[in-house]
């Protein structure tokens, strides 16, 4: 039986169809979860997809992080459920304090849609275990509030503990500190990144298939554990 991966839809979520497609392409079953749900339907992992939940009003991710479905997500994440936050999903996970730091307005003050190269710095997380450490992947970045910031202590801790999972291979286009594109929780099961691996799963519609690795990684681990 293939693993079941929940994909959450908040009002204003946009990339839920893409995330669900990526799960399917990787061989999993995508289960849609609704922001008002208080039950995760027994899924084996959760993707919090990109978009503009609640219009990004107030702060990107701030309102969604406080919606009903996030209660059980936070709880399950603390018990080890693999969770991936992409773009707005990353912002939501930071606002929900599942991941450290915050994502603020791009240094150039403009929305950036561009294909970027990322270096995979940690290939032991739930979502990168199938990718070779140091590998470079190309995926689209598309965000206006994608600059990762954290205080010096937090940054130092993230670096020391190898929790910077993805780094922009070229200088961060959004001014992210330490060129951080994605980070993980201390157990490596919750991962968030600004660029969009789910848009790089088919050469027809994206830069290639580099993004698929995140989804196959988690599914391989889930089926191995089952």
């Amino acid at each position: 039986m293939s693993a079941r991966v929940g994909v959450i839809t908040f009002p204003g979520t946009l990339d839920d169809v893409d995330a669900a497609r990526a799960v399917r392409y990787a061989g999993g079953e995508a289960v849609s979860l609704w922001h008002r749900d208080t039950d995760l339907q027994g899924v084996d992992a959760v993707v919090v997809p990109g978009g503009f939940s609640y219009g990004d009003y107030l702060r990107a991710g701030a309102i969604a992080a406080r919606s009903p479905v996030m209660g059980p997500v936070v709880e399950a994440a603390h018990r080890g459920l693999p969770v991936l936050g992409i773009c707005n999903g990353f912002q939501i996970l930071c606002e929900a304090e599942l991941l450290p730091g915050a994502l603020v307005r791009n240094a150039g003050l403009r929305f950036i849609c561009r294909e970027v190269r990322l270096r995979v710095e940690n290939s032991t997380t739930a979502w990168t275990s199938g990718i070779a450490a140091g590998a470079e992947i190309t995926v689209p970045l598309k965000s206006g509030e994608g600059r990762f910031v954290a205080d010096d202590d937090t940054l130092a801790r993230l670096e020391d503990e190898g929790r910077v999972v993805f780094r922009y291979a070229d200088p961060a286009p959004n001014g992210a500190l330490h060129d951080v594109a994605g980070v993980c929780s201390d157990d490596g099961r919750v991962v968030g990144l600004m660029p969009h691996p789910e848009h790089a799963i088919d050469p027809l519609t994206g830069p290639g298939t580099d993004g698929l690795g995140l989804f196959t990684s988690v599914l391989a681990r889930l089926t191995a554990a089952a």
């Binding site: 609640y54 219009g55 009003y57 107030l58 309102i63 406080r66 919606s67």
Partner: protein, 92 residues
Amino acid sequence: MARVIVDVLPKAEILDPQGQAVARAMGRLGVAGVADVRQGKHFVLEVDDEVPDAELERIAGTLLANPVMEEWVVRRVSDAEATAADVPGTHA
């Protein structure tokens, strides 16, 4: 050096989707008693003492606010006030 605060708000007659979204979020989060929210911008400027009020007004009305959609207030704050209240402190 003087500290000058410029607060900018969308004009009352203009739709403020951000403020409305925040107000609705409060309701969902079980925050009671907040009837309305409006969201604008807050600028803190460090300004030479010589800069006249008229110049501050001009800066506010041409650079900080969009007069087509926004209203604003300019105020100089004294040093005492600045440290007491207008230098935001983190409140736990």
